[in-house]
Amino acid sequence: MKILPLVVVLVAIVCGCRTGGPGAEPAAVPATGPLIAVFPVEALSGKAAPLDEIRRLLLERLRVSGLRILDDAILEDAVTRHRVRYTAGVEREFAIALKREVGADAVLIPSLELYDTTPGFPRVALFARLVSTGDTPTVVWTDGAGAAGDDAPGILGIGIVEDPVLLLSRASDSVVRSLTRHVLDTAGPGVGSAAGKFRPKIIYRSEAIDAARTYSIAIVPFFNKSARPYAGELLALHMMRNLTRGENLAVVEPGIVRQELLRYRIIMNEGVSLADTDTVLNAVDADLVLNGEVLQYDDPVGPTGAPIVDFSVLFIERKTRRVLYSSYSHNAGDDGVFFFDWGRVNTAHAMAAGMARAIASRMLHGPATAEIRGGGTLK
C-alpha cells in the first residue's frame, strides 16, 4: 500500500510529459475521398496572428491524414479568374465554378478565433467548416478546438504549456482528426449533451417544433454589442458547429446568406425583422432563420480572471413567421468551481462551445414551454 502514492506520482509525471511534449507525426496515408479546396484562414482573433503559417500547418496535417487537397496554384487561378474577394465564405457562383471548372467537391474554411501569446499563458482557438460545392452549397461539417496553456497543469505544473505554437499544433490536429472522421464516413458525434451549468438560463421553445421534421437553417450575423471584435461571427460559428451535427438539420452556407443580404441591401438595425426573414429565407430556400445578440464574450487576460459569455438566440420560422425558439445564456468560467479550480473553463471558446451545444440539444429535443408551464394567459 505504501508504494501506491509513488505509482500515482509516476503515472502523473508520465502523463504530464506526454501532454507537454509535441505529438508524434502520424504516418502519411494514400490520398482518398473528396477533393477539398482550402481557403485562407479567416482572422477573427482581433489581433495580429500568423495566418499563413496556420494555413500551412493545416494543409500539412490534412495531407498527412490522407485527404485529397486541391493544389494552391489551381485554387489561386480560380479565385483570380472569378475575381473572388471574400474568402470567409463561399458564394453560389463560385461554388458552382469550383465544382465544374476545377472538380473540387468541398471547400474548407478555417477561422482563427484566438491567438494569445501572453508569455506563460498562451491561448489558442480555431474553427473550420467544410462546405459542399455545386448548385446548393451547404455546411456539411464544422468543428473547432480551443486550448489554454494551463488547461491541464498537472502536479507541480508540469503539464503547463507555454508555447502557443504547440497549442496551435494540438488544435489543428484535433480539427483535422474530426474532419478526417467525417470524410471517412464514420458516425458523427451528434449534438450530444452539454454540462448542466451551460444550459440556457431562460428558454422558450414552441410546441410547433417537430423534432422528426427536417429543417434548413440560415444563420444571419449575430449583433455584437460586446467589446470583443467579431464576437457575433464567433457565436454564429459555435451555433453552426452544433446545428450541423443535428440529424434533421441542414445549415445554409453563411457566404450565400451574406450574398443575399447584400443583394437585397438588407440593413438590420437591431435584429432580424419579419420582412427580412421572408426575404432571406425565400432567397436561400430555408425554413428557419437564426439570429441573436452577443452582450459579452471575454477571454481572461493573463493568469487571473475567468472568461464570461453572455448572449441570446432566436429562431424564426418562415411558414408561420413566429419565434420557434428563444433563449438567454450567461456563464462565467468559474461557475460551479469550488475546490482547486476543478471544472474551471479557461477560454471563452470552450465555454461558448458548451453553451451552444446545450442550446442545440434543447432546441431539438427539449420540452415545449407550453408543456412546462401549462400554457395559460394573463389574468
Binding site: Y328, R373, G375
Partner: protein, 179 residues
C-alpha cells in the same frame, strides 16, 4: 433586532398598479420597446430587455414580437422616442406590430454598490404596459434586487453575480404581472 434587520434588508419591493377594468386575458401579443437606460453601464438597458423578453416568452402565456420587428416598426412609424412613446405613438406601434399591448421600461440602477468595505451588485428596474387601443397605462411594476445584505456586511463576500440579480428582478416583475 427586527428593526436592525429590516433596515439592512437589500431588496425593496414597490407597489404595483393594475387597471381594474382591463381584460388582461385578451392580451396575446406584446411588443417590448427598448428600455430607457438611466445607469452608467451602456449595455444595462439591452441586457435587462433581453432577459425580460426571454422570460416573458418562456411563460408561454403571451407572444413577444422579435426585437428586429420592433426596430422596423419604430422606423416605419417614425416614432421619435421609442423608449418613452407618447400614447398616439403607442397606438401606431401596436397597430403596425399587430400587438394588443406595448411594454416600456427603465433601468434605474445596474452595477456594483459600495458601503464601507462591503460591495454587491444591485439592479432597479421598472416596467409599464400600455394598452394598444388608447395608449394608456394598464399595469406598472418595479423591482429592486441585490444590494448589500447583512451577511455581506458581517462576513464579506461580493454579493450575487449581476446576471443572477438581473434574473431575480425580472422574475419578480413577471410574477407581479401574472398575479
Amino acid at each position: 433586532m427586527v428593526l436592525v434587520f429590516t433596515a439592512c434588508s437589500s431588496a425593496v419591493t414597490r407597489p404595483v398598479y393594475r387597471d381594474a377594468n382591463m381584460d388582461f386575458g385578451a392580451i396575446q401579443i406584446v411588443g417590448v420597446m427598448p428600455f430607457q437606460n438611466l445607469t452608467r453601464d451602456s449595455l444595462a438597458g439591452d441586457r435587462v430587455r433581453d432577459v425580460f423578453i426571454n422570460r416573458l416568452l418562456s411563460t408561454g402565456a403571451v407572444y413577444v414580437v422579435p426585437i428586429g420587428e420592433i426596430a422596423r416598426a419604430v422606423a416605419r412609424t417614425e416614432v421619435q422616442l421609442p423608449a418613452t412613446p407618447p400614447p398616439e405613438d403607442v397606438v401606431k406601434l401596436a397597430s403596425t406590430l399587430k400587438a394588443q399591448a406595448i411594454i416600456t421600461g427603465a433601468v434605474q440602477e445596474y452595477g456594483e454598490v459600495r458601503s464601507g468595505s462591503s460591495s454587491a451588485n444591485l439592479i432597479s428596474v421598472s416596467v409599464q404596459m400600455l394598452e394598444a387601443q388608447t395608449g394608456k397605462i394598464i399595469w406598472t411594476a418595479s423591482s429592486t434586487k441585490g444590494g448589500i445584505t447583512m451577511w455581506d456586511r458581517l462576513l464579506g463576500g461580493g454579493g450575487r453575480p449581476m446576471d443572477e440579480v438581473t434574473r431575480a428582478a425580472v422574475n419578480d416583475l413577471i410574477a407581479k404581472l401574472f398575479k
